[in-house]
Symmetry: C2
Subunit: 381 residues, 2 copies
């Protein structure tokens, strides 16, 4: 199997109280402890922070997006500059999404068996993305893990439409596998099937048969809500390969991550920590803190009193409050550093809890404090 | 003299070929080698960079603004958080401007002998700034150097108006001196007088008689141009005290800084390096480089091929081009780091040249390369 050398996954153990797994991903550019959360650098930059700030906040692997980087600056420019790691000055592992999720919401898209045709929203030029093209782009970018090109459907979707998209996703995954030429990138296919148990199972089984180094669950975080997500994972995860890393795409809030881990997922990504940061929403042990609120105008505490990140070590809520009201970009930077660190600390604690067979009680304790005391700030946040 | 202990100025030497001076400012929070350039953190933050990034780029002292910080967040909040150094996490020297320059351009301002009344543009509330109020604000903020409250006039201005403003500036400087209560802040008065040699001389002599630890030249960088600025310095500097640091406010471009140093000024500040950075304009040895230009789309060189700053060490013009076109804030950060470093390197080279009595030839060599080869990028920049 091409790309098999690109990734090793050591499944260290499974929690005795649930399906949560502890593992290690070994990639060409470093090891990643799982369960892991991957901050998002869609356009080849994590918004408002430097790569060193991201690494210092604890991130081990980033997600970038082949769709965005194809449109701008173009993968040939990234390749000519030595690939994405060198281009963006991130020497650690990178995963690129294929663009399937991005094109599914474009108003101008036309989907055929060949691929998806659409117009680039900025410049207006027609673009055609196919499984082969998505692979070529991702090979040029040079990430450590690349994603198959899939057909994502909206939520909710009728059974017939979900089945057609799922079956096409399987055929496209086979085409991606055939199109792969680099042996230093691990290709993950993406399980689709919307909210239909038989489609999810069928997709997972067919993709598992491709024997690729990892597998992803897609088509979630599209507005279905936490309960539906849990249901879908419940009837999908049992059909994912045991000894491959499992990546839940686009998730999510801390509470969703805890659910995903409990159900046996190993990798997650989401824009939430950085996107919320740029609106002045900081994650803390006791819930979300909206630092622009008047409550924090004079507040001499750090954003999170239980945090040892750069931001919480050096700045107060009063200063962040001031920066956001004064529209100083540094506010975005400081809040992003904190939120990434918060997520990374959550993941480290999750791994420690699994190692000690107490993930379920860890999750309960975390959520009791996070959701109870956070009620007020969650409402306003 | 109150505040005399707050500042020592050691005049090391004067260049044998011109009036350029080499010195050291010793302040409560550190030493500053002069001639020095002070990056601007108007609202208590240098835009788009962290304090560590500013320090790593070589800055030894920052300028913040009492007017802006009075309006938001309010000096009482900064004071309650331990003062401006602690509030903004900058343990090194800070200078605060009094607000005289900021209020002079407000459309709603009403100037009287008492002070200036205006409306805060954001919230609309009436504000009264007086010499005593400006001192109280700056004492609450706690900078190492504080500026007297002055009356700045537009350029050009009639003689009578310039004289009235200059005379009021002297009276206000006396009131500032009387209002001072802290002995750990050095107060600098500001020489006004527009473009009239007798007014500048009269102002300088009257302010010198106050025997304060330093002195500033204000009312420049208001659109008068490089030639007028040189003329004004020519008939002002001879009347500034020899053994006090001399601060030229709001200057400027590299070529203006070289002129100011040549004429005997020791301190400068300007938003140009960071403001230009945020529009994608980078200062280099060969002139300004507008990194959004199509020329740089594929360019694998660092922004400045002669630079060892963080940005030039780790990133290419192609990446910065991409970041600016993709509207990624990181572009602002990287360009700001480079431009601050460029200015700091310029100042270090200036000091070295003065130490070796070759400032005039250094200046000529610098400008020959900077202005000649930079012609194209200067036009577009």
């Amino acid at each position: 199997m091409l790309g098999a050398m690109a990734l090793e996954f050591h499944l260290v153990k499974t929690d005795s109280g649930c399906a949560a797994r502890l593992g290690t991903l070994i990639l060409p550019r470093g090891e990643v402890a799982t369960p892991t959360f991957m901050p998002v650098g869609t356009q080849g930059a994590v918004k408002a922070v430097s790569p060193e700030q991201v690494a210092q906040a604890g991130a081990q692997i980033l997600l970038a997006n082949a769709y965005h980087l194809h449109l701008r600056p173009g993968e040939e420019i990234v390749a000519a500059r030595g690939g994405l790691h060198q281009f963006m000055n991130w020497p650690h592992p990178i995963i690129t999404d294929s663009g399937g999720y991005q094109v599914f919401s474009l108003p101008t898209r036309q989907v055929s068996e060949e691929g998806v045709r659409f117009r680039f929203e900025k410049a207006g030029q027609p673009v055609m993305l196919t499984p082969e093209k998505a692979m070529a782009i991702q090979e040029a970018l040079g990430a450590d893990i690349v994603m198959a090109f899939d057909e994502c459907v909206a939520y909710p979707t009728e059974y017939g439409q979900a089945r057609a998209a799922m079956e096409r996703t399987v055929r496209w995954a086979e085409r991606c596998k055939r199109a792969q030429t680099r042996d230093d990138q691990a290709l993950f296919p993406i399980v689709q099937g919307s909210t239909f148990a038989d489609l999810r199972r069928g997709c997972a089984e067919q993709l598992a048969a491709l024997d690729l180094p990892g597998i992803a669950v897609g088509g979630l975080s599209v507005g279905e809500g936490a309960d539906v997500m849990r249901d879908v994972l419940g009837y999908t995860v049992p059909y994912l390969p045991q000894h491959r890393p499992r990546y839940l795409m686009g998730v999510g809030l801390p509470e969703d991550i805890l659910t995903a881990v409990e159900m046996g997922m190993d990798m997650m990504d989401c824009v939430i920590p950085t996107k919320h940061a740029r609106t002045g929403v900081l994650f803390t042990r006791v819930g979300r803190l909206r630092v622009m609120n008047a409550d924090y105008r004079k507040d001499g505490f750090p954003p999170d009193t239980h945090c040892d990140c750069y931001t919480c070590t050096n700045y107060t809520r009063a200063y962040l409050h001031h920066l956001f009201h004064a529209e100083e970009i540094l506010g975005h930077t400081l809040a992003s550093i904190h939120n990434i660190h918060f997520y990374m600390t959550l993941m480290a604690e999750i791994r420690e809890a699994i190692a000690e067979d107490r993930f379920v009680s860890y999750k309960e304790n975390f959520l009791e404090i996070y959701l109870r005391k956070g009620k007020k700030s969650r409402r306003v946040g």
